[in-house]
């Protein structure tokens, strides 16, 4: 297997205020790490630090061959910008053929979609485009920040399934930030529970205990394991 990411004693401060402290974990190739925590726990900050988007202390070591695909939580889009979906892929030097292929993987099959302006598609469609954009260019690690946030109701299942499918096909490593417990169980190899500091790390069956969850989400959290099997 081999490690694709090793994090040692990672701390992040913004404007002098500590946001994250003392984070340690590692991720093997092909694994899914779910970063779980309530709003304001620092999940997005952690993901951005891992993607090299924020200054930090401590060590973040990716394997040398890593190619990162990143899906931000939201992109506040200038609706008036005359950029087509195809041109948006072009900004990453991705041609129309590959763009069409990755769009198909996220459930957008209409070939004329490439000619539409990114400011004029729905937010759910744009979220799918962002996922496809991250998948283009053959990444081996995907960093997803709440990837279901903008997807139309009913589309969520498809994106999770898509993640699993692509992950198997490409031996992708996935780091997924979410606050949704139900999503976690099916996806994760390991879970990192976060609330400013690292509260737990390990496989879901071992660490999703009521005590841990209370520490992450606060008192009164109820967790029911849905068996979809």
């Amino acid at each position: 297997m081999g490690k694709i990411l090793t994090v040692k004693n990672l701390s992040v401060s913004l404007d002098g205020e500590p946001i994250l402290e003392g984070i340690d974990f590692s991720v093997d190739r092909g694994q899914t790490l779910v970063i779980l925590g309530p709003n304001g726990a620092g999940k997005t900050i952690l993901l951005k630090a891992l993607a090299g988007l924020l200054p930090h202390r401590g060590e973040v070591t990716w394997s040398e061959d890593v190619v990162i695909g990143y899906v931000p939580q939201r992109v506040p889009l200038d609706k008036d910008l005359p950029v087509t979906v195809q041109e948006f892929f072009g900004l990453k030097r991705i041609g129309p053929a590959e763009a069409a292929k990755v769009l198909q993987q996220v459930g957008i099959e209409d070939p004329s979609f490439l000619k539409r302006e990114i400011g004029k598609i729905s937010s759910g469609q744009f979220q799918r485009v962002l996922i496809a954009w991250a998948l283009a260019g053959d990444p081996n690690a995907l960093l997803f920040d709440e990837p279901m946030a903008g997807i139309d109701v009913g589309g969520e299942e498809t994106v999770y399934e898509l993640l699993q499918k692509v992950q198997k096909e490409r031996r992708l490593t996935v780091l997924l930030v979410t606050h949704e417990l139900t999503a976690v169980y099916r996806q994760a190899t390991n879970i990192l529970c976060l609330n400013k500091k690292m509260i737990c790390f390990g496989p879901p069956t071992e660490i999703l205990t009521p005590a841990n969850l209370q520490e992450v989400f606060g008192k009164g959290t109820k967790y029911f394991l849905h068996d979809h099997g």
């Binding site: 951005k48 993607a51 990162i68 990143y70 931000p72 992109v75 910008l81 041109e87 954009w133």
Partner: protein
């Protein structure tokens, strides 16, 4: 190449590159910055006129100085970039009024492209071409930064390097443009073609090259208006630009109605 052909060639080249760069500026919501930077050029232009060196060179140095100053101050205060540019802009105007010799003041403010000599024209055209190639090379990166800085950074595109090249391009276009339309109007060479093109374009390519085309043609038409009527060339070019913008608005409405 005689003088009248030289001035036509310079007007087209500067109009084209101004429009092209402008398409990047208004999508970065920096339209006013370009306008203000035109005014920052005034003292440099004045020094050039007073001491008989190329006014564009003086303009370029002052715009560059203005940009660097705003850049430096931007890191040290919590004031917005627009406020700082505003301060730099009025200060430069005031200094400019003090040092530009009065006979040359009007020319500095609204430009005079009719006096371009053939060698100066060749020089301006070469610089315009260089700036066009520079802007074209940073265009995709700038557009991605504009859509999402995070996505751009993950692709290894850092704002610092791109912004520096971008500001250099603005400084170069402003200093070429002050000869054509003067310091008061040079911003319009970048803002109006882009705004007009945005009204009627449906993709990035149409938008960027449409802006280039509108910029070039309004300068050419403006110059011929000047030759026919004797109106000053710079203001004529800007009025043609404004007229084309009005047309683009009408066209946009027609397209929207047809689409509805």
């Amino acid at each position: 190449m005689d003088d009248s052909l030289s001035s036509l060639a310079v007007s087209i080249a500067v109009g084209a590159v101004g429009g092209y760069l402008g398409s990047l500026m208004i999508s970065k919501r920096m339209a006013l910055a370009g306008d203000a930077l035109g005014h920052v050029a005034l003292p440099g232009l004045g020094l050039g006129l007073a001491f008989h060196f190329d006014p564009s060179l003086g303009a370029f140095l002052f715009v560059l100085l203005g940009i660097l100053l705003v850049w430096q101050l931007g890191g040290k205060t919590s004031l917005g970039m627009e406020t700082l540019i505003g301060i730099a802009f009025v200060t430069s105007l005031a200094i400019g009024f003090l040092i530009v010799p009065e006979p040359e003041l009007l020319e500095s403010l609204i430009g005079d492209v009719s006096k371009v000599s053939p060698p100066a024209a060749v020089f301006s055209i070469l610089i315009s071409l260089g700036v066009f190639l520079l802007v074209r090379s940073i265009y995709p990166g700038m557009m991605l930064l504009n859509i999402s800085e995070d996505l751009a950074h993950v692709q290894g595109i850092t704002g610092r390097k791109y912004n520096l090249l971008y500001l250099l391009a603005i400084a170069a276009v402003v200093s070429l443009g002050v000869k054509v339309t003067g310091t008061l109007l040079v911003g319009a060479l970048m803002i109006i073609p882009a705004a007009a093109s945005r009204n009627v374009s449906r993709n990035l390519r149409q938008y960027a090259y449409g802006s280039l085309f509108i910029g070039a043609s309004s300068c050419a038409i403006g110059l011929s208006v000047h030759r026919q009527t004797g109106f000053p060339a710079g203001p004529s070019m800007i009025l043609v630009n404004a007229f084309l913008f009005g047309l683009s608005l009408l066209l946009k409405k027609t397209i929207a109605r047809a689409g509805a």
